[in-house]
C-alpha cells in the first residue's frame, strides 16, 4: 500500500491577485517577439484565473513561469506541476514569462525569478502546485455555482468539469471569467504523488519546435525598428579602469554611429550592424589603469594558493571529532595535494541585451537567469527606479551560472542611455565574453588522513585554499567571515552534506582571493570538492589495499544509505570487479549535492597514451523525478560540461588578464569524445532534489579513478590536457 500523503495547505498567507486579463505584457514597442504564448494570447480572449493560470476562450491554458529556461528543462517541469494540479488538457498547454516589473507591481506574486543552484523545481514545487490547485478549485467553484450544485459533487479532468451525479459538463473556458471573480480558497488539497499523471512522466519539452527551425529568437537575435548594434570592450584586467581612449580611427569606419565611454571600465562602439561595431571596436585605442592586478600571472596565483595550504588561520566549515590530533598522533598518515583551475562558462550565446532608454522609462530584453536581479541592475545602471524600468526575458542560449550575473545588462543600459530613444542591441564577442567571465573559482586542496587498524580512515583533514564567490560578491558572511558555499558536498548538513561516516573530520578554508572575478558555475564548488575528495577516497582505498567500492561501502552503510544505494547501482550495472584488459579500468565517485544523491562509474582505456572514455553508468536519486527524459538529458549534458572542464578547461592568467579567449584555446568536448552514458533515475520519493548540477561532480573523479585503475597514474591537477597519462 502506498502511503497517502495529501497535503492541506493554507493559501490565505499568499497573495494571489485575481481578475485582470492577461496578454500584451512585454509588447510595449508593438513588435512581435516570439516569447511563449504572449503572441497567441493577444489573438484569443484570455482570462487570468489566478496569477499562474490564464485560460483562453479557445480552451488554451497558459501557465506562467517565473524561472528562466536555459536548456535545463525547468520550464516544462514547472508547467507539468501546475497542469497536474489544474487537471487541464496537456495538449492545450503553453507558457509565458511574467515580467519582473509585473512581479514588482503584484507583490512578487510568482515568488523568486532566480534560476540557478538547481533550484527551479526544488524550491518552487510547493507554490506552483498550489497555484494550479487554486485555479482548479476556482474553476470547479464557478461551475458548481452555474449549476447551483454543491462543489464536492464536481470534479475536473483534462480541462472539463463534471457534475458527477448528473453527468453535466463544462469546459474550463466556459467558467474562467466567473472563476476569476470568486474568492481565493483558504486551503487546497494537493494530489498524492501516487496519483500523478503529468508529474513524473517523460513529457516532451514545450520549447522544442522553434528550436529546430531557427524561428526561436534568442536575445542575440532580437531586431527592432531603428535598432542599432553595439560591441563593447572592458578592461581585460578585472577591477581595472579606463584612463583614456582614442576613437579617431574607429569613428571614421563605415556604419559607425558613436564611440562611447561606458561606466569607468569600458568603451563601446554603436553601429549599423554588429560586425561593423565589432570591427571598429578593435580600432579604439584604450589606456587602462590596472594597478598591481596587471602584474599577476598564473604562477603568482598558484603560489598564493599554495601558501594557503599551510596557513595557520582558516575558516572551519565542518568539524567533527578532532581530526588534527588524531592525525598528529598517528604513525600512518597519507597526504595528497590537488588543484582545480579557473574556468569560463562559455555558453554558446554570448552575453547580450537589447535596451531602449528614454528620459522617462527604460526597457530591456535580456537572456537572464534572474529577471528580478536584472530589473534592479538595469534601474541602478541608468539611475532610475525599478518602477520606471522593465525587463522582458528571452529564452537563454545557455547560462550555466553566468547569466545569474547582470553586469552585461547594466553595460547595455549605460550604452542605451547615451543613445536616447534608440533600441540598442549590445552583444559581446566570444573574446569579450571569455575575458569578462565570472570564472569557476580557483582552489587547491590538501587532504590528509590517518587510519584505523582495519585500514579504514579514522581521521581526514581537508584544507581548501582559494577563492570565495560570496566574498567577491561582498555578500554578508557573518562575524566569522565563513563562506559556506566553499564547503559544498563536505558540509556538516543540508543539501550538500558530507556523506561519509568518518569519526574525525575537518574541512577548513584558507580564503585566498586573486583579483579575477569568480562566479557560480554549473555545479559551483562541488566540481572541485568532489574531485578532491573522491580521488582521495580512491587513494585511501588503494593505500589500505582495499577495493574502492567496498571501502566506500563501509563508510556509507550507516551514514548515508541513499548515497550507498546509487553507488551500488552504478557499480552493479558496470559489472564492478569484472576482468578488464590491462590498459582499461573502472572508477567510482559518489556524492550528495543540491539535495540529490548521485554516483557514477566510468570505464576507460588508455590507448597510446590517449584517454578513451568508453562508458559512464550514472545514477541519481532526486527524490521526486518530474520529467525523467529531461533528467536523463541533464545527466548526460552535465557530464559533457564536467568532462570538458576536467579534460580541457583552464583559464590561465598573464599580466592580470585571461589568455584563453576563444574555443581554439579553450576547447569544449565534441561528439566524438563523448562516452556512452547510461543513466538510471532512482527517484525514491519524499524529497525534491536538483538535477541540473549534482551529477556534474561525479563525472571527472569517476573517470580519473578509472584512469588510475588502468595506468597507476594519479591525476591530481586539472585539466587533464596538461598531464601525462603514461
Amino acid at each position: 500500500m502506498t502511503q497517502r500523503s495529501q497535503q492541506q495547505i493554507d493559501i490565505s498567507r499568499r497573495n494571489f491577485v485575481i481578475g485582470s486579463t492577461a496578454g500584451g505584457a512585454g509588447l510595449a514597442l508593438g513588435m512581435s517577439l516570439p516569447l511563449g504564448a504572449l503572441a497567441a494570447n493577444t489573438k484569443a480572449q484570455a482570462t487570468e484565473v489566478n496569477v499562474w493560470v490564464v485560460i483562453g476562450t479557445d480552451d488554451t491554458v497558459t501557465v506562467r513561469v517565473a524561472r528562466s529556461e536555459m536548456g535545463q528543462g525547468t520550464l516544462t517541469g514547472l508547467v507539468q506541476m501546475v497542469a497536474e494540479e489544474l487537471e487541464c488538457d496537456w495538449d492545450k498547454v503553453s507558457w509565458e514569462f511574467p515580467t519582473p516589473g509585473e512581479s514588482l507591481r503584484r507583490d512578487r506574486a510568482w515568488g523568486s525569478f532566480s534560476t540557478g543552484g538547481s533550484r527551479g523545481i526544488r524550491e518552487s514545487h510547493q507554490y506552483v502546485r498550489e497555484g494550479g490547485a487554486v485555479a482548479r478549485t476556482l474553476l470547479i467553484g464557478a461551475a458548481a455555482q452555474r449549476w447551483s450544485v454543491p462543489v464536492d459533487e464536481c470534479t475536473a479532468k483534462a480541462g472539463v468539469i463534471t457534475h458527477n451525479p448528473s453527468g453535466k459538463t463544462l469546459r474550463f473556458a466556459a467558467v474562467a471569467e466567473a472563476a476569476a471573480q470568486l474568492p481565493v480558497p483558504k486551503t487546497v488539497t494537493l494530489k498524492d504523488p501516487a496519483d500523478w499523471e503529468i508529474i513524473g512522466k517523460p513529457m516532451p519539452r514545450l520549447d522544442t519546435a522553434d528550436k529546430v527551425t531557427g524561428k526561436l529568437r534568442y536575445g542575440a537575435d532580437l531586431k527592432m525598428p531603428g535598432m542599432l548594434y553595439a560591441a563593447a570592450h572592458a578592461c581585460p584586467v578585472h577591477g581595472g579602469k579606463r584612463q583614456s581612449f582614442d576613437a579617431s580611427k574607429a569613428e571614421k569606419m563605415p556604419g559607425v554611429r558613436a564611440v562611447l565611454p561606458v561606466g569607468d571600465d569600458a568603451v563601446a562602439v554603436v553601429a549599423d550592424s554588429w560586425w561593423q561595431a565589432n570591427q571598429a571596436l578593435k580600432q579604439v585605442k584604450v589606456d587602462w589603469e590596472t594597478g598591481d592586478s596587471g602584474k599577476v600571472d598564473s604562477a603568482a596565483i598558484t603560489a598564493m594558493l599554495k601558501e594557503g595550504l599551510d596557513a595557520k588561520d582558516a575558516y572551519v566549515g565542518h568539524e567533527r571529532g578532532d581530526a588534527s590530533s588524531a592525525i598528529a598522533g598517528s604513525d600512518e598518515v597519507l597526504s595528497a595535494e590537488y588543484s582545480y583551475p579557473l574556468q569560463s562558462h562559455a555558453p554558446m550565446e554570448p552575453m547580450n541585451a537589447t535596451v531602449i532608454w528614454t528620459s522617462k522609462r527604460c526597457e530591456a530584453w535580456a537572456p537572464t537567469q534572474n529577471g528580478e536581479a536584472a530589473l534592479e541592475a538595469l534601474a541602478d545602471a541608468v539611475g532610475m527606479l525599478p518602477e520606471q524600468c522593465e525587463v522582458h526575458k528571452t529564452l537563454l542560449g545557455g547560462g550555466f551560472g553566468r547569466r545569474g550575473f547582470q553586469d552585461w545588462l547594466a553595460q547595455a543600459g549605460r550604452i542605451a542611455k547615451q543613445m536616447p530613444g534608440t533600441p540598442i542591441k549590445l552583444m559581446w564577442s566570444r573574446e569579450e565574453d571569455q575575458r569578462q567571465g565570472r570564472y569557476h573559482p580557483i582552489t587547491r586542496s590538501r587532504l590528509t588522513a590517518s587510519f584505523a587498524k582495519d585500514g579504514q580512515p579514522d581521521a581526514v583533514h581537508m584544507r581548501i585554499s582559494g577563492q570565495s564567490i560570496l566574498a567577491a560578491l561582498r555578500a554578508p558572511l557573518g562575524e566569522e567571515r565563513i563562506d559556506p558555499v566553499v564547503f559544498q558536498s563536505v558540509a556538516p548538513e543540508g543539501d550538500h552534506a558530507f556523506i561519509y561516516g568518518i569519526e574525525h573530520f575537518l574541512a577548513d578554508h584558507a580564503m585566498r582571493n586573486p583579483h579575477l572575478r569568480p562566479g557560480f558555475w554549473r555545479g559551483v564548488n562541488i566540481n572541485q570538492n568532489v574531485f578532491y575528495f573522491e580521488s582521495f577516497m580512491d587513494e585511501m582505498a588503494r593505500h589500505a589495499g582495499a577495493d574502492p567500492l567496498d571501502y566506500r561501502r563501509r563508510l556509507l552503510r550507516d551514514s548515508s544509505p541513499k548515497a550507498l544505494a546509487v553507488l551500488e547501482d552504478v557499480a552493479s550495472r558496470a559489472g564492478w570487479g569484472r576482468q578488464l584488459a590491462s590498459n582499461s579500468g573502472l572508477g567510482l565517485a559518489v556524492c550528495k549535492a543540491f539535495g540529490s544523491y548521485v554516483a557514477a562509474c566510468a570505464e576507460v582505456s588508455i590507448d597510446d597514451g590517449q584517454l578513451n572514455m568508453k562508458k559512464i553508468w550514472a545514477a541519481t536519486d532526486c527524490g521526486y523525478a518530474v520529467n525523467p527524459q529531461q533528467i536523463e538529458a541533464q545527466v548526460a549534458g552535465s557530464f559533457v560540461f564536467g568532462l570538458s572542464a576536467a579534460l580541457y578547461g583552464e583559464m590561465t592568467v598573464k599580466d592580470g588578464a585571461v589568455q584563453e579567449t576563444n574555443f581554439d584555446t579553450y576547447p569544449s568536448m565534441r561528439l566524438a569524445a563523448m562516452p556512452e552514458v547510461e543513466t538510471k533515475v532512482m527517484a525514491s520519493g519524499g524529497f525534491w532534489g536538483g538535477v541540473g548540477e549534482p551529477t556534474i561532480a561525479v563525472a571527472a573523479p569517476a573517470v580519473l579513478n578509472a584512469v588510475y585503475a588502468a595506468t597507476g597514474v594519479r591525476i591530481r591537477e586539472l585539466p587533464l590536457k596538461d598531464q601525462s597519462l603514461v
Binding site: 531557427g214 562559455a346 550565446e349 537563454l396
Partner: protein, 163 residues
C-alpha cells in the same frame, strides 16, 4: 551591390564584400536562425549549406558566396519537416537550442552525402560544439533521421508503384 541566392530566393545587399556571410544573413536579412558562437569557425553554430556543402559562414566573406546556392536553417524545409528536424523533435534533442540550427545543418549535410552513416562517420563529420551536451541525442537523432528519410523514400516509391 551583391546578389545572393538564399533559400531559393534572390537577395541584393549593399555591404562591404569582406563582411562575413553570417552577419549579412543576421543583421541585413534578419535570417537569425544562423548563430554567432565564436567567429573563428571553431564551434559550428553558423553552419549553413553552400551548394549543399556544410560551411561555417562566420569566416566566409559574403563575396565568396555570390553565385552559389545558400541554404540556411530557415530554408532547410518550409515547415520543419526535414527528417533531421523531425527526428530532433521526436527525441527532444535540443536543450538550450542555440547551437542546434548549426548542428542540424551539419547533420543534414552528412545525411545528404551518406544516407546511413555509422557512428564513426558521425564522429568524423559532426564536430560542432554544444555546451549543454546534447551529443547522445544528436547521435541518436542522426540515426533516426536516416531511418525517417529511408521510410519516406520507400513510402513514395510504393506510392508511385500503386498510383
Amino acid at each position: 551591390m551583391l546578389k545572393l541566392n538564399i533559400n531559393g530566393s534572390e537577395h541584393t545587399v549593399d555591404v562591404d564584400p569582406s563582411t562575413p556571410l553570417l552577419w549579412v544573413l543576421r543583421d541585413h536579412l534578419d535570417l537569425t536562425g544562423t548563430k554567432y558562437g565564436c567567429g573563428i569557425a571553431q564551434c559550428g553554430a553558423c553552419t549553413i549549406h553552400l551548394d549543399g556543402v556544410a560551411t561555417r559562414c562566420c569566416v566566409l566573406p559574403v563575396s565568396a558566396a555570390e553565385g552559389k546556392a545558400i541554404t540556411t536553417i530557415e530554408g532547410l524545409s518550409a515547415d520543419g519537416s526535414h527528417p533531421v528536424q523531425r527526428a530532433w523533435v521526436e527525441l527532444d534533442t535540443p536543450q538550450c537550442g542555440y547551437c542546434q540550427p548549426g548542428m542540424i545543418m551539419a547533420a543534414a549535410a552528412l545525411l545528404a552525402d551518406n544516407a546511413s552513416p555509422s557512428d564513426a562517420d558521425i564522429n568524423q563529420r559532426i564536430t560542432n560544439i554544444c555546451r549543454c551536451g546534447t551529443f547522445p541525442r544528436v547521435r541518436e537523432g542522426i540515426h533516426r533521421a536516416a531511418e525517417l528519410a529511408t521510410n519516406a523514400m520507400t513510402d513514395s516509391a510504393a506510392e508511385e508503384v500503386t498510383s
